[in-house]
Structures are given as C-alpha cells and as structure tokens.
C-alpha cells in the first residue's frame, strides 16, 4: 500500500468508478443501496467530497472489500 512521505500534501482518492463497473451498477443504484442521494455518490466519485467514516464503510460493504481498497491516500498532483 502506498504511503505518502511526511511533509507532502496527501489527498484521498477512490476506486468507486472501477468497483461500480465490476459490479455493473450505476451511481443511482449504489446510492440507493446505502441510502444516500445520487449526487452524493457523484461528488465522492469526482473527488469533490470525502465521505464520513460511516459512509466509507458502507460503500466498502457494498463492494465487499476493505475500505483501504476503495479509499486511499495519494500525493497531490
């Protein structure tokens, strides 16, 4: 797992788009399963919003993977 070095800005990225493609579900279907709005999934996927731990855990449950495989830190471009 990639760990950003100290002193450098790290941002949270996610794999939701890829994971959705694997399950073959739309943003709306994913939103429906975890009882959030479609726009919320849209903004998370676009990297505009980092969800709370609760929501991140729920998303990970849908994809049946650990949270770290869906959300991870990356160095800022």
């Amino acid at each position: 797992m990639f760990c950003p070095p100290f002193g450098k800005e790290a941002i949270v990225k996610n794999n939701i788009r890829v994971e959705r493609a694997i399950l073959n579900i739309t943003q709306a279907e994913l939103a429906d399963r975890i009882k959030v709005s479609r726009q919320t999934i849209n903004t998370i996927e676009a990297g505009k919003y980092v969800p709370s731990t609760v929501l991140a855990l729920k998303i990970a449950l849908v994809f049946a993977k650990p949270v770290e495989e869906i959300f991870f830190l990356e160095e800022e471009d």
């Binding site: 959705r20 493609a21 073959n24 579900i25 739309t26 943003q27 939103a31 399963r33 975890i34 009882k35 959030v36 709005s37 479609r38 726009q39 919320t40 849209n42 903004t43 998370i44 676009a46 919003y49 969800p51 709370s52 609760v54 929501l55 729920k58 990970a60 449950l61 849908v62 049946a64 993977k65 650990p66």
Partner: protein
C-alpha cells in the same frame, strides 16, 4: 466478514441527523407560494399597491378614531415572502444525507458573505431612497442567495459533471 445484510442493521449509525428542518413536502408549497408572494411584494414596494378593505382602523376612544391607520397589504406580502422562502430554504431534501447537510451549511455561510459584501457596496454607493429599497430587499436576500447557491450545488453541478463523463 463483509456482506450486504450488515448495512440494514447499521443504518442507525447514520451520522448528522438533520435537525430543525421542515418535511420535504413543504418545499413544493414554498415554491408555489414564492412567486406570487414576490410579485405582490414588488407591487407593494414599487407601485404602492394596496388591497381595498385591508386597512386597520383606530378603535373607539383612541386618537384618530375610525380613521384608517395602515393598509395591511405590505404586511401580508412580507409574511408571504418570508414564509415561502423559509419553506423553500429549510425543507428537507428527498434524501437528506451527510453531503446534503454539509452543502446546506456551506451555502448558508456563502450567502451571508455575499449578502454582506453587496450590502457594503450598496452602503457606499447608494443613498437615501435607493438605499432604503436595498434595505427592504436585504431582509430577504440572505435566504434568496442561499436558495440559489444550495440548489445550484445540489442539482446543477452534478448534472454538469455527469455530462462530462460516462456513467456505468
């Protein structure tokens, strides 16, 4: 370890329960009421519109007995505009989740900033009657800016973003 049924059980863990918000159905009522209310308000403010028979009179034994003191059309317009914009601004969304709550609070801050920036500008460059008109509008503009910004971020921005890339 991981599985879907878990989600239903843990639903109660959902954070940031919306507080002090009206039910979602009020939003529609608010929108329906808002435009007639604004038209009435503008008519009162700029064209001195008054509904006949809407005056209040001084009671018996009081100064100016029986004379009309005030026409209540302005008060009616104020109440209608305030009630309608309040309903539009502070009704729950269909799905009120954490991002919606966050956007709501952010938009509220944004609208206060914009409102006071414009008020500062008006204070410096407008005088007398013009400034009075601005003050009247200013009673509602925080709510109007909020409504505009909140709905833009909630419905317009995701649509633009979605148009740029393919879903699924």
């Amino acid at each position: 370890m991981y599985g879907l049924p878990y989600i239903c059980v843990k639903q109660t863990l959902h954070t940031m329960k919306p507080r002090f918000l009206l039910e979602h159905s009020f939003k529609r009522i608010g929108w329906l009421l808002l435009f007639p209310a604004i038209v009435l308000g503008v008519a009162v403010l700029h064209f001195d519109f008054e509904i006949n028979g809407f005056e209040i009179h001084a009671g018996e034994g009081f100064f100016m007995e029986g004379k009309p003191l005030n026409n209540l059309t302005g008060e009616l317009a104020f109440v209608l505009v305030l009630a309608a914009s309040f309903m539009v601004a502070f009704s729950k969304e269909k799905i009120e989740d954490e991002w919606v709550s966050r956007t709501r609070l952010e938009s509220l801050q944004w609208s206060v900033y914009v409102n006071y920036a414009l008020l500062l500008f008006a204070n410096l460059f407008l005088f007398d009657g013009n400034f009075f008109i601005i003050m009247v509008y200013n009673m509602f503009t925080i709510l109007f800016f909020f409504i505009g910004r909140f709905n833009f971020v909630l419905y317009v921005l995701p649509a633009i973003r979605k148009g740029g890339d393919r879903e699924k």
